[in-house]
């Protein structure tokens, strides 16, 4: 096993070997969900705090289930109940939690670098569950676990990521992990949601139109469009977005015959993806969710299941 880090903050700095070992490890944890008793004692007596400064039911639940299946004590702390609303600084909040001696902090925050800041502050291990538009490493890794159920994830594979790239941590974490493994990544977004200079990243192909991005592609990853962004003059209307960038059956026909369709959720049906595609045979969206638990178990185990130096 080659994962010797204190924290999992992103996929950007992970080596191919580290990514592969996380994926392999996740494979071993999948089976636990099928057992009559879905619980192993690996993290008995460990405390996992889900520190969510931004609401997220899915990711938090996934981490919570993962922690509990490992027998860890999982505690949820969300922004609405936190002292942040009382004007306490992030570091003060974190110092307080650290004083209660947790073993692992799972951090979701709406600002870039929050997990990094916390990781440098505390002795507990930190898993970044999303920091602003920066990284969401466990999402990318579970996407890779899902892809590898259908494809060989490596050179020769082509993945199209379509949607609001600029504001997407899912896109970024996937870009880093996929390009590190030698996968060809095509990016497609309205120019208003496409960061300048993204084309400087090696292994990345920027496509103007979804038709171009989808052509013969093996994996289609649609991103959630945040409807509130409309106010920021980024696209004219939801209708217009769906028309130009939404994934429908006709567009999906451009992809390889055995292409799979992914979406990190929650979906806006009829906006970035039609129900026909989302519920179709090529969608692996719910497998992503199942694999999320296994992958997060693997991550929590690797970080928390070992002794302290």
């Amino acid at each position: 096993m080659v994962f010797e880090r204190k924290d999992l903050l992103g996929t950007r700095d992970l080596s191919a070997i580290e990514i592969r070992s996380l994926l392999e490890s996740a494979e071993s944890f999948k089976e636990i969900a099928e057992r009559p008793l879905k619980k192993v004692p690996a993290l008995r007596g460990k405390t996992v705090v889900n520190l969510f400064f931004e609401p997220s039911t899915r990711t938090r639940t996934s981490f919570e289930i993962a922690a509990k299946r490992l027998s860890a004590d999982a505690v949820n702390m969300s922004a609405s109940t936190s002292s942040l609303v009382k004007g306490e600084s992030l570091l003060d909040t974190v110092d307080n939690i650290q004083a209660m001696a947790p073993d692992i902090l799972v951090v979701r925050h709406r600002f870039v670098g929050a997990a990094h800041m916390i990781a440098e502050r505390v002795g507990a291990r930190v898993v970044n569950a999303g920091d602003g538009a920066n990284e969401h490493p466990t999402q990318a890794l579970l996407d890779l676990v899902t892809m590898s159920e259908h494809k060989r994830v490596g050179p020769g594979l082509t993945v199209a990521i379509i949607g609001d790239i600029a504001h997407s941590r899912v896109a970024r974490s996937n870009i880093w992990a996929l390009t590190t493994l030698g996968v060809t990544v095509r990016i497609c977004a309205p120019p208003t949601m496409l960061p300048r200079e993204l084309d400087k990243i090696p292994g990345l192909i920027v496509c103007e139109r979804p038709e171009e991005a989808l052509d013969g592609v093996d994996v289609v990853m649609m991103l959630r469009i945040q409807l509130e962004r409309q106010d920021r003059l980024l696209f004219p209307s939801i209708r217009d977005y769906a028309r130009v960038f939404g994934l429908n059956r006709q567009r999906l026909d451009l992809a390889a015959e055995d292409a799979i369709v992914m979406h990190p959720g929650p979906m806006n049906r009829g906006v970035e993806i039609t129900s026909e595609v989302a519920d179709g045979s090529r969608a692996v969206i719910l497998n992503q969710v199942s694999n999320g638990v296994a992958l997060r178990m693997a991550v929590l185990f690797l970080l928390g299941g070992q002794g302290h130096e």
Binding site: H109, A114, N134, P195
Partner: protein, 445 residues
């Protein structure tokens, strides 16, 4: 505050752009707060005599752009602590911006600043706001402020978005011979931005501030000055396009001047994700957090490497007239927050001259052009006739530099109340060892 005492500085290398003079083995005699005599082997009776053993003597540095935070934000800096930091860094005059609380938009505030500054070791030159409350709506009473001692006008920290108001400010200020210092920024293009829009913002999901936000406003400001045939000064130039705009305006004869900060001359956007990207930082004082360190957050932001190159070229060829620090102190806890929440601004008074010496060792500037950028040009921009040069008869404001005295930037040792510098841990090639204002030694290392 001038001194009646006399001081003889022996065996110095005088570097003074005002006299276009870079000569070794000189003695300088200061009396009654003025430069009284310059020559070799001066044998004049003096109250104090220093054999400086070849150290450099340059006119005191003049900073066109500092934030002293008083009144209103004394926890960040005070006029006194800021002036202490200034002289420790070789600055003998500092122009302090108006974005205090209350804003320096009335003669009463200007007088308050001057009163507070009376006991300060450096000359403090209050810059008054352009608009009342810096709200961009109505002009301040420029005549009254000029009479009270305002050295210049600026809404720095904000742009004057209303072009008609900016036009009237330029026209009206010109009769008092006080410069307008323009913070150029298109608010809509800037809005929400945190770091330079480029490679790093793309990769790390931080909202970008495009160079465009600065460039379109520099173009507008230059066009106004050109049309009105008045002078204007552009603050903290940070982009290659900005340099080009100023260069071509100067070639056309527009009376535009510009400044650049040391941080924009030394650091690019990569510092946001790795403060140690360009330097082998001293391990004892290097910051623990090298990624997303809020000491790299300022406005305008650290730009791309091409912009740094263009700024250095502009500084060398005189397109950029002055080095100014944009010294913007913040309390440690204010900066110890999420990157996106942190306030903009870094301190600079105690590192700027030493970084200037580094520009000399890197052959960007000669000692003489460094003296021009640090002293002569800023004095000219502010219309300080008796400062910025060490011609006989001018104020004895000077700094003594040991060009061989390497040191490590340690924010813990700053005299400023704040330590928010992106240069912590840098090894700099030389150091200001004495600062003299009006013939008085105000800093002695």
């Amino acid at each position: 505050m001038s001194s009646n005492a006399s001081l003889l500085l022996k065996n110095v290398r005088l570097i003074d752009a005002g006299q276009n003079r870079d000569e070794k083995n000189l003695d300088i005699f200061l009396r009654d707060g003025k430069v009284a005599e310059i020559g070799s082997s001066l044998n004049l009776p003096a109250d104090q005599v220093f054999d400086l053993n070849g150290a450099w003597v340059m006119p005191g540095a003049i900073d066109l752009h500092v934030h002293l935070r008083e009144p209103g934000f004394e926890h960040k800096e005070t006029i006194l602590s800021g002036a202490e930091a200034a002289v420790a860094g070789g600055f003998t005059s500092i122009a302090c911006m108006a974005n205090t609380n209350p804003v320096n938009d009335s003669a009463a505030i200007t007088r308050f600043i001057l009163e507070q500054a009376a006991s300060a070791p450096a000359k403090v030159l209050p810059v008054a706001a352009i608009s009342k409350g810096m709200a961009g709506q109505e002009l301040v009473e420029m005549g009254d402020l000029a009479a009270a001692g305002a050295a210049a006008f600026s809404d720095d920290g904000k742009t004057v978005a209303n072009s008609k108001l900016l036009r009237h400010a330029l026209e009206y200020a010109s009769i008092f011979n006080k410069p307008l210092l323009c913070h150029c920024q298109d608010n809509d293009l800037f809005a929400g931005g945190v770091i330079h829009e480029g490679m790093i913002s793309a990769a790390h999901g931080l909202a970008g501030i495009p160079t465009l936000a600065e460039d379109v406003d520099i173009a507008r400001t230059i066009m106004l000055a050109e049309y009105l045939k008045v002078g204007v000064h552009i603050c903290h130039l940070s982009t290659a396009t900005g340099v080009r705009l100023v260069r071509s305006a100067k070639a056309r004869g527009v009376k535009v001047t510009a400044e650049a900060t040391p941080h924009h001359l030394f650091l690019d956007e990569r510092a946001v994700v790795d403060l140690a990207y360009s330097e082998d930082l001293d391990e004892h004082v290097r910051p623990q957090q090298l990624r997303y360190n809020t000491a790299t957050k300022m406005s305008p932001p650290l730009r791309a490497a091409e912009d740094v190159t263009a700024l250095r070229e502009g500084l060398a060829d005189g397109t950029i007239d002055a080095i100014a620090t944009d010294h913007a102190p913040h309390e440690a806890t204010e900066k110890a927050v999420e990157y996106e929440l942190a306030p903009f601004g870094v301190v600079g008074l105690e590192t700027a001259v030493a970084l200037g010496l580094r520009l000399v060792t890197e052959k960007v500037l000669t000692p003489l052009t460094l003296a021009a950028r640090l002293s002569l040009a800023p004095a000219a921009i502010l219309g300080l006739d008796d400062r910025g040069s060490l011609t006989i008869g001018k104020a004895a404001d000077l700094m003594i530099i040991d060009p061989q005295r390497e040191w490590v930037v340690d924010p813990g040792k700053f005299r400023s109340k704040a330590g928010n510098t992106p240069f912590a841990g840098w090894r700099l090639p030389g150091r200001v060892v004495k600062t003299i204002v009006d013939g008085r030694i105000v800093f002695n290392l």
